[in-house]
Homo-oligomer: 328 residues x 2
């Protein structure tokens, strides 16, 4: 039933640093960060304890992955980050070109070929006069970034076998009229708590509803449901994931019937296949929902999209090569 | 109509450090922190950039105020913090006595007589193996704390005149079935954004509903509505504020008719008086809601509770004197 297996990805990836001409201390290979206008090894990177990004989760961020020395859809991530900033009235003192240069330099400093580049803008330190806190433009927003080695949220074995998903009963996703999930932000206590609920239920990942039986998103990932030759992913209450966008592109390219719309728990329970999409793992097939099997291993659609995703990425699709010489 | 004015509080408070026997560098008077097992001046206090308390708002916290050298309701804050930890499956490596001692030492190091003491437990650094992230007990939670000078969210002039409140139209409060507000946590982007909406509307503070016309809470504060000799504060969707508890106690002590229940926007618009309660300001009367006056200045009930609140605090009610000699 299942056709070919998903490509083994982890075995082919390597985080051995490339050897760029300049000498790099071992400490940089573990990660690099940009904090308060300085490049530092990750181990030294810290955020002032009073930063509103911490104490009030008042911030937006984005994460782009690097595979085999290439950023994937960097411009799309940057465009989304700019929209996140606009939605939360945070201002970026860097242009998109400067931002890209900074992220490149961080990757170059680590030498990592497979990495995450994370960056954020926080509201900054709280203002001494409370009346100033009513005005976005009076804050001095802060830009932070770091690069760390790539880690799959689910490894090859899980992607071959498919993962067991738990639909959270204890938590609903923070609704868009409270905190708009299209602005990628830190408020994810609901998502993190649902992971632990999934653990208690013997599952491997969770997905959250809106409280009315409609699926929203999973921790760090979007969900796709394949049912009767139609593929659907939630339209609202979720991040506009770049891997979600990529899966939509790939479905269209293959000629599959795909749409963005309402997806219910019932749709998921009755699905032929389902998968998660995430920069931290690509395409992740689902084998069971709430302990009910929905597919043996990775189904044919999931496998096809998974393999195409990695084949095209490695062929340079939407890739921006990291310039490993660009270390100032 | 209004009777006596609220006590002038700010003029009577002082943040001149007391002069304890040991020498203290100027830098400690600006604030002190406890970060990764070390006491440091606030200016040096920072949280590792990968801490889940930052990147996922995966943390709980509490804040207790110190006035005239006394913590106010320290044990109640500590008990609430313990409940917050339980709700979010975070573990505190300190006993309540050790925690109190640590907060005392932080205040003592600053020498401040009027201060906030903030403390938090974060999930800690993310675990390398995603499957471990399903189990709360596998994380190494981190304890952070800092003490800073007390700042009123609204000063005496505002408390005399009452503040103009804006009922947010753009944001609802994160619902309890997503992130339980009784566990005091960092997810407050909704609250912070509503403050900026209030600023645009010419108001001085905001309050959020549940999206169905029922009031929940205001940034950093609870709301009380006085209508036809009955005082009501929201029961659900809000923090169980310690100043809210104190206002309930004071209303009962005076013999006022007070209850915890459902409070609608309509109740607020038709109120005789309304006020906010917060550790960062005590009792804050409201003079207008959505540009419609509801009370000239501070109304008689608000004034009475405000004055009683400070008089009793300064008389030592629920006070724990700071031991300024306790600096290890």
């Amino acid at each position: 039933m299942n056709g070919p297996s998903p490509l083994a990805v982890q075995d082919i990836m390597t985080n051995d640093p490339v050897h760029a001409p300049m000498e790099r201390a071992q400490e940089w290979a573990a990660g690099a960060a940009y904090v308060i206008d300085r490049f530092v090894p990750l181990g030294e990177a810290a955020v002032p304890i009073t930063d509103l990004g911490l104490v009030r989760a008042d911030a937006v961020y984005d994460v782009v992955s690097v595979s085999r020395g290439q950023f994937f859809r960097l411009e799309d991530h940057q465009a989304r980050f700019a929209r996140s900033c606009d939605r939360m009235k945070l201002s970026n003192r860097f242009t998109q070109a400067e931002e890209a240069e900074l992220l490149n330099e961080l990757v170059a400093r680590t030498g990592l070929k497979d990495a995450y580049a994370w960056w954020a803008i926080t509201r900054g330190t709280n203002l001494p006069h409370p009346s100033d806190r009513l005005h976005a433009e009076r804050f001095k927003n802060r830009f932070y970034a770091f690069v760390i080695p790539y880690v799959f949220i689910k490894d090859d074995a899980d992607r071959q076998a498919g993962i067991r998903l738990h639909v959270s009963k204890d938590y609903v996703r923070i609704p868009a009229n409270a905190v708009d999930p299209r602005a990628k932000n830190f408020c994810s206590l609901d998502l993190n708590m649902s992971l632990m609920e999934a653990g208690r239920a013997g599952a491997e990942w969770s997905v959250l509803t809106d409280g009315n039986g409609v699926l929203t998103e999973a921790p760090g990932s979007n969900i796709f449901v394949v049912r009767e030759n139609k593929i659907t992913t939630p339209e609202t209450g979720c991040l506009e994931g770049i891997t979600r966008l990529t899966a939509l592109d790939l479905c269209a390219e293959i000629g599959l019937n795909v749409e963005v719309g309402t997806v219910t728990v019932d749709d998921l329970m009755a699905a032929d296949e389902a998968f998660l999409t995430s920069s931290a793992g690509g395409i992740i097939p689902i084998s069971a929902v709430n302990q009910q099997p929905i597919c043996r291993g990775s189904g044919p659609v999931s496998t096809r999209i998974h393999n195409l995703y990695w084949e095209k990425r490695w062929a340079g699709w939407h890739g921006t090569p990291v310039d490993y010489e660009a270390v100032n």
